[in-house]
């Protein structure tokens, strides 16, 4: 095909390779899974192992069929680990295995492999699991803070301040003694001098021990992971910044209204620390494979994902609205990319 010869140059590369990036994201995911595993007798680690084995075996099988070895790019491992983060820690491992296989075989490879899929494979696997085994998925989240909260709201429990923590307390949610202690210390040292008070319950979210999505059970290490990812320039930092800022602004402005509160009283911390918000902002929204071509359009899409995520969670009653928000924007990406090519990268004289 190619009878034209040009010397290959340049000869150096100055950025981390794709595989190095994948391994770093995988490392962050493992940190979160370990934090979750500490509180559930390593059940989270078992799920991760199952997802990992399923994904790797599927990737190898497809590699064998296609005659190309792509396992070393690390994307299959990363997909399996991010998929694990999206699973409840008490879900049946067989479901995890099937979801992981679906993510690799259908969402990733049916569209041509790494970089050509229109949907984030891990998110595709999550969608497959929630749609195929809705009862098992919901059962696995029985007793989770988010489920208790939405069940309470569904029963008509509201709070005049619109505080989710207050509603949770009414619903019987127990706050740990460590949380009470830390909240007391913070209030005594930081907040009382400025006539403010931090309600009890937030510290538990940093190291949540009840049933929940694994990403929500390892928030402390996920926060550290977001710093690592940003420091190593794995993502474009403005995308999570825009996502988080807009999401929190919307929560602050309108987040109390659905729970009996008034305009401008929404609980930003509660919105940030569960429902997969951090994972969405720093990993799913910044996935380059399902991103736009230009940074500007990327920021716009991040903003849209934040708006959709907020609407689905606060006005649609879906605890994991943030994930649905990304799903919606993922569907828009092919159209956005086509538009970008036409508007930004085509010779205007030919338009």
């Amino acid at each position: 095909m190619n009878d034209v010869y040009v010397a290959r140059k340049p000869l150096i590369h100055i950025n981390d390779s794709t595989s190095q990036r994948m391994w770093l994201v995988s490392f962050v995911a493992i940190l979160v899974i370990i934090q979750s595993g500490i509180h559930d007798n390593y059940a989270s680690l078992v799920l991760a192992l199952v997802a990992l084995l399923s994904a790797v075996l599927m990737e190898l099988a497809i590699n064998g069929a296609r005659g190309a070895f792509t396992l070393r790019d690390g994307s299959a491992v990363t997909t399996a680990l991010i998929f694990t983060l999206l699973m409840p820690n008490t879900i049946h491992p067989v479901i995890v295995a099937l979801g992981s296989i679906f993510a690799i075989a259908i969402v990733k490879h049916a569209y041509g492999g790494l970089g050509t899929n229109w949907l984030n494979p891990a998110l595709g696997g999550w969608l497959f699991v929630t749609a195929s085994w809705p009862n098992s998925f919901a059962k696995a989240l029985d007793g989770s803070a988010l489920q208790q909260f939405y069940q309470a709201v569904g029963r008509g429990v509201l709070d005049p301040s619109g505080s989710p923590l207050a509603i949770l307390k009414i619903a019987g949610y127990k706050i740990s003694s460590q949380d009470s202690f830390l909240t007391g210390v913070m209030n005594h040292t930081l907040f009382s001098p400025i006539n403010a008070e931090l309600p009890a319950g937030y510290f538990d979210f940093f190291s949540f021990s009840g049933p929940a999505m694994i990403a929500d059970r390892g928030i402390l290490l996920l926060l550290i992971g977001t710093i690592i990812i940003t420091a190593f320039r794995i993502n474009k930092p403005l995308i999570p910044a825009v996502y988080t800022a807009l999401y929190l602004l919307l929560v602050r402005l309108f987040g109390a209204i659905p729970f009996g509160g008034s305009l401008g009283n929404g609980d930003m911390l509660f919105g940030l620390l569960n429902g997969g918000t951090l994972l969405t902002a720093f990993i799913l929204a910044t996935d380059p494979g399902t991103g736009t071509k230009s940074y500007q359009a990327g920021l716009l899409t991040a903003g849209l994902a934040a708006i959709f995520g907020f609407l689905f969670r606060y006005f649609g009653g879906s605890p994991y609205g943030a994930l649905y928000g990304i799903l919606v924007t993922n569907t828009l990406i092919p159209t956005i990319r086509t538009l970008e090519i036409t508007l930004l990268y085509t010779n205007r004289r030919t338009l």
């Binding site: 095909m1 190619n2 034209v4 010869y5 040009v6 010397a7 290959r8 140059k9 340049p10 000869l11 150096i12 590369h13 100055i14 950025n15 981390d16 390779s17 794709t18 595989s19 190095q20 990036r21 792509t70 070393r72 790019d73 492999g113 790494l114 970089g115 050509t116 474009k236 380059p288 494979g289 991103g291 736009t292 071509k293 230009s294 940074y295 990327g298 090519i341 930004l344 990268y345 085509t346 010779n347 030919t350």
Partner: protein, 435 residues
């Protein structure tokens, strides 16, 4: 002072393995010199010697013929041992003259000539520059006379532009040359300006070299050479013709000047013009930066043309660690050395022995659409899309999406985390599409 920069993309490049920019050292004379008859983009020079011929230092041994071809001279005195043939990194085959060092030098160690050039006409100067085989002293090594003629044909007004923009750390040899031979460069610029009938001499200097700019001001005033100094950014590829012209056009607009066509050259070329016209000397040696992570003692050397790369490296202490690749020229735009017996040519600005770590891995992964190539492209192209079109052979589509604007700076390829040969494939696509 206003700093002129190109508007988008580009890279800030740093490399701790470049040799120190303090001074040059004279390299040993080669006992065997391999003088390639192709040191320019055009056809191979016609050999004027055969095995057994005795040659003098500076003697014409290859006559350039046709567009892009230049004369070739012997860099050392001696006897032609053999006429060799080998394949260059760009795919062309070339002959070379292997000379064994013998006899006495006509130039080295002798009193230098000092010819008066002021009385010579533009035509005479061009003839001398052409006879002495002066080419732009970096890849691809276009004959300087052709550069002059091209500018003169474009416009009645011509400006000679001397690019002293160090956007790539591997231009350190050029920098040392500028420090050590500034007067010759300034006189060379006056000669070149006269040859090109240029109305302006512009020194484009990167903003990190303000001291050099100050020296140029002082020395040009002392030598009576009227120059204009334009301070540019130092982001790669500011030195590229397109980015340089972009800033020069902004400069002429700001200063309400008519600079006309640009005759662009580097300081090494002007030093060679000085040697040719004032000292009656062809290109016998050049400044070469020898470094990279594998080299024991990186240095800037003054190396005779035809010296084998292996000999040059051994003068820098040899290898510290096994190099993964050796290239001539900057790692961004240079060519891979296939054999350590390959010679230093007129366009060898550097010899870089790269470690595996410097190369950054060569395993190609699938494109993840990360967009880093788009972010650094100074032309505003979508290298990822053009690369995919090139792979599919859709060359006319690639041209529709502005592929022709790509000037091969390589920024996209340098930053690609998937190590895709973006720039290389786009250049293939352009070549195929323009057939």
């Amino acid at each position: 002072m206003k700093i002129y920069r190109f508007p988008r993309g580009g890279l800030e490049l740093e490399d701790p393995t470049v040799p120190p920019a303090d001074a040059s050292r004279i390299a040993f004379l080669p006992t065997l010199a391999v003088i390639p008859l192709t040191q320019h983009p055009g056809t191979e020079a016609l050999p004027l010697v055969e095995t057994g011929t005795a040659v003098q230092e500076g003697m014409l041994i290859g006559r350039g013929h046709g567009s892009g071809s230049a004369n070739i001279h012997a860099s050392i005195p001696g006897q032609v041992v053999k006429i060799l043939s080998w394949k260059l990194a760009d795919g062309r085959t070339t002959k070379g003259v292997l000379i064994r060092l013998e006899g006495s030098f006509d130039k080295l160690g002798k009193k230098t000539d000092h010819y008066n050039w002021q009385g010579l006409s533009s035509f005479d100067l061009q003839r001398i520059i052409s006879e002495k085989g002066i080419v732009e002293m970096e890849e691809p090594g276009r004959p300087f006379v052709e550069i002059i003629r091209e500018a003169s044909n474009q416009s009645k007004t011509v400006s000679l532009v001397v690019r002293m923009i160090y956007d790539d750390p591997w231009l350190v040899a050029d920098y040392v040359l500028a420090q050590e031979r500034l007067d010759e460069i300034l006189i060379g610029s006056a000669i070149a300006a006269k040859a090109a009938s240029a109305t302006h001499i512009i020194f484009a200097i990167s903003d990190e070299e303000m001291e050099l700019a100050e020296r140029i001001k002082i020395r040009s005033a002392a030598l009576g050479v009227q120059v204009r100094i334009v301070i540019t950014g130092s982001r790669y590829p500011q030195r590229n013709r397109r980015e340089l012209e972009t800033v020069l056009q902004r400069y002429q607009k700001n200063e309400s000047l008519d600079l006309g066509a640009f005759c662009i050259c580097g300081p090494a070329t002007l030093a060679a013009v000085f040697d040719a016209v004032v000292q009656n000397k062809p290109i016998l040696e050049r400044y070469v930066a020898v470094g990279g992570g594998s080299i024991k003692f990186p240095k800037v050397l003054r190396v005779r043309i035809g010296t084998r790369i292996g000999d040059v490296i051994s003068q820098c202490g040899g290898f510290l660690v096994q190099p993964k690749k050796i290239c001539t020229g900057s790692p961004l735009k240079g060519m891979v050395v296939q054999d350590l017996d390959e010679p230093v040519t007129k366009t060898t600005i550097a010899i870089v022995a790269l470690t595996e770590e410097q190369i950054g891995g060569e395993v190609i992964h699938d494109c993840t659409n990360c967009g880093e190539c788009r972010a650094v492209c100074p032309v505003g192209l979508d290298p990822e899309y053009l690369y995919k079109l090139a792979l599919l052979g859709r060359d006319s589509d690639a041209l529709l999406h502005k592929a022709i604007s790509c000037h091969g700076c390589g920024c996209c390829e340098v930053v690609c985390p998937s190590r895709l040969p973006l720039s290389s494939n786009i250049r293939v696509s352009i070549k195929r599409g323009s057939r």
